[in-house]
Amino acid sequence: MKKNKLWGAGATMLLAIALVVSGCGAKNDNNGGGSASNDSASNGSAGGSEESGIIKDIKDRGKLIVGVKYDTKLFGLKDTASGNVEGFDIDISKAIAKKIFGDESKIELKEVTSKTRIQMLDNGDIDLIVATMTITDERKKQVDFSDVYFKAGQSLLVKQGSPITGLKDITKDSKVLGVKGATSIKNIEDKVPGLRVMQFENYQEAFAALKAGKGDTLTTDNAILYGMAKQDPGYTVVGGTFTDEPYGIAAKKGNTDLVALVNETLKEMKDSGEYATIYEKWIGEKPPTE
């Protein structure tokens, strides 16, 4: 009995210490965030009547949380050496953070995959998805999309010298590799009746499978394939694009204020030429004219 009481007291003390320590930690983090974030946060709450909902929540929090890919060359790739995530999607995300806070570093990036991103958005883990996400009618029922920020199209990646030169060479018996959750799977299965795409967890696994000879071709958006071809010159993109897949930035259903803010940011970036600069930096060519 006595022993039990002692244990209880000990546990309570530990719990109390843990609470105090973690409380302090959080406080310090806030201070570390700089006075700018505190200012903007307090401004946000003071002018509460003008700004409502999600944007106010983001300002109060002091940072924008964006779901991006960590495994996709050119768009969102984690540099294993530095630990930084870099790419076209990241630069666009930073521009949105700059629009909200006037400071592009007020941002937190979280890794998403095609499989997890909508669930994470619904759970409130992230404010926006900027992760090579194609706008589709089906997805429009799940999320609210911004204007198109990148015009992609589906293409094929093959080993140099492959007999496959385009979609016309794909038959239902071809071994085609893809990634779970991507629209590209459905597209090619519709275009080649009877074809069954072998689907992997992410692009790196699918590319590893292609390299290991598990398939004849890997299909997804051209921009992603160009990134892979850059990584390994033994592979090449063939046959041009056979779909029109506009990438959009997704917000949780109903967050129209946030979508409007994103659209405004995109427009400003295009007008100022910042968009073209970022586009060329990552994709290697000028953005197509509208």
Partner: protein, 217 residues
């Protein structure tokens, strides 16, 4: 919470995956049992070389993650020119991985029969093989059934590894259903239900077998 339309609308996908999970499980069960028995015989063999091989095999395969074993079959062998698809790699991986546990269960079962039994049998004039066949193994079988049935249940559940290698199993198709419906809870509960359809009778059958063996003794 549980939306039955997820099941009814995607029943083709579920059944397709279920089919491959059954194939992988049956092949895995048979293969791992045969392989496991063989390795167990090596482990207690009078020849040092066989014992050494058996020990190395068991300690290697049971001490690395199943995912890596399947990796070896899927990616490892392709660098030597042997191309196995996801289903074959996954099933072979399951066999080899599970056989190392089964070998240990069988070895432990045989060695748990007191050494005096073998000595007594040999002194009546039985050969080593006869003594094994008529005296030692009948006693060992009763001891090894529970651990082996555990390994069989694990094998059925572990077959979900195929999904990672485009192995067409229940988990692979489950992922696709989830992406079509965005209803993870219902999707994977139904996936679980299909696994139960396999594992529950398996668990029940081994319990019946155990009881029979106990009565036979």
């Amino acid at each position: 919470m549980l939306d039955f339309s997820v099941l009814t609308n995607n029943i083709d996908d579920y059944l397709e995956g279920f089919k491959y999970t059954i194939y992988a499980s049956l092949l895995g069960l048979a293969g791992s049992f045969v392989l496991g028995t063989l390795i167990a015989v090596f482990r207690i063999s009078p020849f040092a070389a066989l014992r050494g091989f058996g020990t190395a095999y068991v300690e290697f395969f049971r001490n690395i993650p199943l995912l890596l074993v399947v990796f070896l079959f899927y990616y490892g062998l392709s660098s030597f020119g042997l191309q196995l698809d996801g289903f074959t790699s996954g099933t072979l991986g399951l066999m080899v991985y599970t056989s190392s546990f089964i070998a240990e269960a069988i070895r432990a079962g045989i060695q748990s029969v007191p050494a005096g039994q073998m000595e007594a049998a040999r002194s009546t004039g039985l050969t080593y093989v006869q003594a094994m066949r008529f005296i030692i193994l009948p006693q060992a079988v009763r001891i090894v059934i529970p651990p082996i049935s555990n390994q069989f249940l694990n094998l059925v559940k572990n077959s979900s590894i195929l999904g990672v290698f485009a192995g067409l199993d229940l988990m692979y198709f489950g992922d696709q259903v989830n992406l079509d419906t965005y209803d993870a809870v219902s999707t994977y509960l139904f996936v679980g239900m299909f696994y139960l359809i396999l594992t529950f009778p398996l668990a029940y059958a081994t319990r019946v077998l155990e009881r029979r063996m106990a009565n036979a003794a």
